[in-house]
Amino acid sequence: MTWTPLYLLECQLRAVGQLRVSLHRKMCNRQAQVRWRSAGRPAPLLTARPTRALVDEPISIEAHHLPSHTPITVRANLTSEDGDLWEALSHYYTDAKGAVNLMRDPSMGGSYVGCEPMGLFWALQPVPGSREGLRLRKRDVETPYAVHLSLLEGHVNPEDTRGKGSEEGQELAKTVVDRWYMAPGVRRIEVRQNGVVGSMFLPPGPGPFPAVLDLWGMGGGLVEYRSALLASHGMASLALAYFGHKDIPGPLNRINVGDSYFRAAFQLLQKHPQVCEERIGVMGLSFGVYLSLWIASQLSVKPRCVVGINGPLGSFNTFSSEDGQQESFEENQRHWSYDEQGYVSFREVSLPSNIPSENYAKVEDMCCPLLYIVGKDDLSCASLENADEIEKRLHAAGKSHLFTRLSYPGAGHLIEPPYAPNARVSLWTTRPAKLFPPEHIRT
């Protein structure tokens, strides 16, 4: 915010409660302002299609019936399940016909720049003044996010829209889109069977379906949304809890399960009447990568393929075989590092050179293809180094043909389903308070 003489005047007058902030905005804004409320003129039209989409489906957003060559802002608002408000906004100019088309037109500023048809979704951030370290994760995958899209007058910034009166960047039009993790007909089944704790998602139809065993990282609990989305694309998927879940016996801050647990989970998928038992893959993010590699190489199950996202091939703590019981994750903190803001990075923990080689998953015993995805700015896991180590070991075993790597410059740790907002930092359940996983928005 520029401290112009006008702005200072406005602050004084606001103290007296006389000057409306909108007047300040209009005075400072050099661009033409358009009055919409005069003489019963109808509002412009903002459309978004499809109105109810899966979170990985792109949406066409357009505005019509505006004056030509006029500055406008398109804003997205979403209220999370925890009641936090997330927002993104972008600055456009209407064309000669008074229209804006986000599939075609570049944003000139705001939450992102350039032509980004889905920018309003992946650039969502908690509004100024929110609690720190928020991460947008849907717990109830059977209901959608409702995203409110608005057309605002002029070029508006996030700080202008909060708590300074409702006239800032007057809302000209609005539309609502629902974003779903589950397609219609997908079934969610709670799994508490054979000691296995998870949620299974089945596509509609008779099957048999290929299936995915879906593993997340040391955040713990049970994260369902990726599995729900996989099932919406025709694959049965079992989101598996293994750490920090109340239905798994043992201390919440330890991994209390071992080989037999993961084997039971895999077999549960295999035995399901609607799953094709020879077509099961394993997908893991972060620590889930280590588990996926372990499952693919050292258990007696045979996944058809493995997808690993930003994870280690070894565990710093000994991961004992049958019954789990390893040291608490945060007890071994000597490799944690901190940045100048006090955010912790676990990156060093997962450096292959810091992990005893006997703790590596024996990737050289793998027999199935591996797709490894690297966010090159991952500050939570040494993904690049781990990818290199895995590739090296597979090459030494004559299995290079099994390895495929996808690398994304500027991408961080939490490579999630597309168009989801990025969290550069987020709260972690353990001490210290903050974690430093991912990186630049627009990755």
Binding site: A32, V34, R35, S38, A39, G40, R41, P42, A43, L45, L46, T47, R49, P50, T51, R52, A53, L54, E57, H64, H65, P67, A146, H148, S150, E171, L172, A173, K174, T175, V176, V177, D178, W180, A183, P184, G185, P203, P204, G205, P206, G207, P208, F209, P210, S232, H233, G234, P273, Q274, C276, E277, E278, R279
Partner: protein, 443 residues
């Protein structure tokens, strides 16, 4: 109805086979949005049937299907490939919806109309092996996807209107407004039909679906022009509505009401009008009750075809010359869009439109008239992809007689007419209600 397969039988039959991948995008859409259906992982050059199934609110089953042959990659792309048989042929991206028909053994004379617009129309899309024409419920599908078709976009509000004797349902788009508005009227079938108004609101118009004929004990004694003027006034006076941007849209008898308002009303001055499958042959200055009495006399001219279906086409023929028997369309001062079907068996709309053109030519307001005339389409020109109904059960509002009314049209041309007409109706409404800004309102 057993939609799911006998899974155990399938599983033992071929434990290596996995189901093909059927994708429909988007899975949730407005009823006038297209979807894209692709089937993958078939064998090359495999014969398959793509099938749609809908369980209506009236508990009837409707189905449609197309016969396809996969390409060398084992893929069928419905919007690009030609159906070689079934309920539609040729390259028809939306054929699975507009060619829906009651399954064999259904009750006779059905018509598909959504009553509850707050829930979607659910359609199951499936792929079957081979080219099938019947017996879909006994056969296991290879794959199934569930899709939702909505009349209402998220954020649109539905409000019951019971005011000043007027009965209807109001639909309000999200956002601050002001919005243009549409008074939406159906025909002699009576009742309160909401779905088209809901869809109009999903396109940015405040829409009032008006009931003026009750299909029960109430007599229509009092309904005359004053009722419709009151409805128009209520709509126009809403705070969200731009009062000089109100249109009137009517189908069948509703079209006659529309013309009456546009020509004679001193208080209702619509900005534009749309008349679908309607006629100006309508006694002037008579109440609805009197009109139906007159109709009853004319019904002697109705015919029965070889299937015992009633044809009302000749009832208003020949087009009368007496001025008090038809609306003087020469008095209309606003743009008028007339949509007619050349195979309309219910009402002589083609002859009426010719007469209207002549009257307007003589009166000097012919330039206000646009006519869309569709060959081989029938009377019931509904929102796009609504199944074509050539005849259906109908209750004559005045004498409560139940007949099967012949509406006319052939399925494919009728479907094309619905799709084209809706697009043009929306463009017409947007042009006259959203655009077309008078010079003095510009800055």
């Amino acid at each position: 109805m057993n939609v799911s397969a006998d899974v155990s039988l399938r599983r033992s039959a071929s434990s290596m086979a996995v189901c093909p991948v059927l994708s429909v995008q988007p899975t949730r859409a407005l009823v006038d949005e297209k979807f894209q259906i692709v089937v993958r992982n078939l064998h090359p050059k495999q014969e398959v049937t793509v099938h749609s199934l809908h369980h209506s609110e009236d508990k009837d089953y409707w189905e449609a299907f197309g016969h396809y042959i996969s390409d060398e990659n084992g893929t069928v792309t419905v919007m690009e490939d030609a159906s070689r048989g079934g309920t539609y042929t040729g390259t028809e991206p939306m054929g699975l919806l507009w060619s829906l028909r009651p399954i064999p053994g259904s009750r006779h004379g059905l018509r598909m109309r959504k009553k509850n617009v707050l829930s979607p129309m659910v359609v199951n899309i499936s792929v079957y092996k081979g080219h099938m024409n019947q017996g879909f419920s006994e056969e296991a599908a290879l794959a199934t996807v569930v899709t939702e078709r909505w009349y209402l976009a998220p954020g649109v509000q539905r409000v019951d209107i019971r005011e000043q004797g007027v009965k209807g349902t109001l639909f309000i788009p999200p956002g601050p407004g002001l919005f243009p508005a549409v008074l939406d009227m159906w025909g002699g079938g009576g009742g309160l039909v909401e779905y088209r108004a809901a869809l109009l609101a999903s396109h940015g118009f405040v829409a009032l679906a008006l009931q003026y004929l009750t299909p029960n004990k109430e007599r229509t004694l009092d309904i005359e022009t004053g009722y419709f003027e009151m409805a128009y006034h209520i709509l126009q006076s809403l705070p969200q509505v731009s009062s000089d941007r109100v249109a009137v849209l009517g189908l069948s008898f509703g079209a006659s009401v529309t013309l009456t308002l546009a020509a004679y009303s001193k208080t209702a001055k619509p900005r534009c009008c749309v008349c679908i499958s309607g006629s100006h042959v309508h006694p002037v200055n008579k109440t609805l009750f009197e009109f139906f009495q007159l109709m009853n006399q004319s019904l002697a001219k109705s015919r029965i075809d070889e299937n015992n279906h009633v044809i009302w086409r000749d009832v208003i023929l020949p087009i009368p010359t007496e001025p008090d028997l038809k609306v003087d369309v020469g008095k209309i001062k606003c743009p008028l869009l007339v949509v007619i079907a050349q195979d309309d068996q219910s009402w002589a709309t083609v002859e009426s439109t010719e007469d209207m053109e002549q009257i307007m030519e003589r009166s000097g307001n012919r330039h206000l008239l646009t006519v869309l005339s569709y060959p081989d389409a029938g009377h019931l020109i509904e929102p796009p992809y609504t199944p074509h109904i050539r005849f259906s059960n109908f209750i004559n509002q005045h004498n409560r007689e139940k007949v099967i009314m012949l509406w006319g049209g052939q399925t494919k041309p009728h479907a094309d007419a619905q799709e084209d007409a809706w697009e043009k109706i929306l463009l017409f409404l947007q042009k006259h209600l959203y655009q077309d800004i008078p010079p003095e309102a510009k800055l």
